[in-house]
Homo-oligomer: 196 residues x 2
Amino acid sequence: MGVAMVGLRVLGIDPGLTRCGWGVVEGRPGARPTALGVGVVRTSPDLDLELRLLEVHTAVTALLREHRPAAVAIERVFHQNNKGTATGTAQAAGVAALAAAQADVPVAWHTPSEVKAAISGSGRADKEQVTLMVTRVLGLTTPPKPADAADALALAICHVWRAPAQQRLRVAALAGGIGAPVPAARTLPRWTGISR
Amino acid sequence: MGVAMVGLRVLGIDPGLTRCGWGVVEGRPGARPTALGVGVVRTSPDLDLELRLLEVHTAVTALLREHRPAAVAIERVFHQNNKGTATGTAQAAGVAALAAAQADVPVAWHTPSEVKAAISGSGRADKEQVTLMVTRVLGLTTPPKPADAADALALAICHVWRAPAQQRLRVAALAGGIGAPVPAARTLPRWTGISR
């Protein structure tokens, strides 16, 4: 197995109750990543909050089973905007993180400006620029829609590109011909783990 | 079976990551409720956020299995205070609500002022007054500690006392000698269900 095949598979989550974007990307730092899946989980505002959270949790659990990512990258939520929406967004992020913990997959939290800087070179890029760069970087023929889906892919790309420590360990293990599996991601340094 | 035995069993949750208070109360409007259990779930700040959420979710799931409440009452979280703490509190509330939904138990959200007004007659009661009233109302020999545990009992009492519609249906069903179980709580009117 060559080093070129070594890739980190990441599930990106742009949390939300009305629209929760998700995207699965595989790649390594300094290389063009590959998109493996993208979509949006929608829950009805007519449902009680706990049932909306149940739908998000169930969907993320299913995505983890289907795609078996090595990490989940979730947008770090802030509360500068609408209070009501921020609570639901934080809770959607919480149940997504819970699903990852239940599947024993490590979670990394990235701020919107970290993601924008990683994908476009500017922490102040607007939504159109992020979508454009995601489309180009992944070599897609059409831009992913809605913006929540593109943002989830951007989160996953950001995490793949910001993961040099884990990547070096994996490459070293494979390059050295070590047959045993690399240590579980959870035991590796959490270089981007901002959990509080 | 007499009407006097009819009671609504409620699990109250005062959400938090460092301390998540819980209390189980059984009773009916206008009567002195009974405390069936009280405690606090603590998670270490040294753990990653997703693992703390996993511990809260696992604990609430176990409490639902043990006590089989007819409803879960959770404090409605606002964001006027510390931003970082508010996010964790909202997420702890979210995974508690998720656990309830997974157990098919309806969730009601009560604001701190609703709870204070229900238990003490004043929406501006301080923590000491709430603890004192909870102790008196439940006929406890010692005040529940810490305050998070007392707050969780207050939430459960608030919900029991504010549940006249569901209570009347249950009483009517039993008083009329109807042998079949009353409809599942989820299908009854959600008189206090503030979910957004």
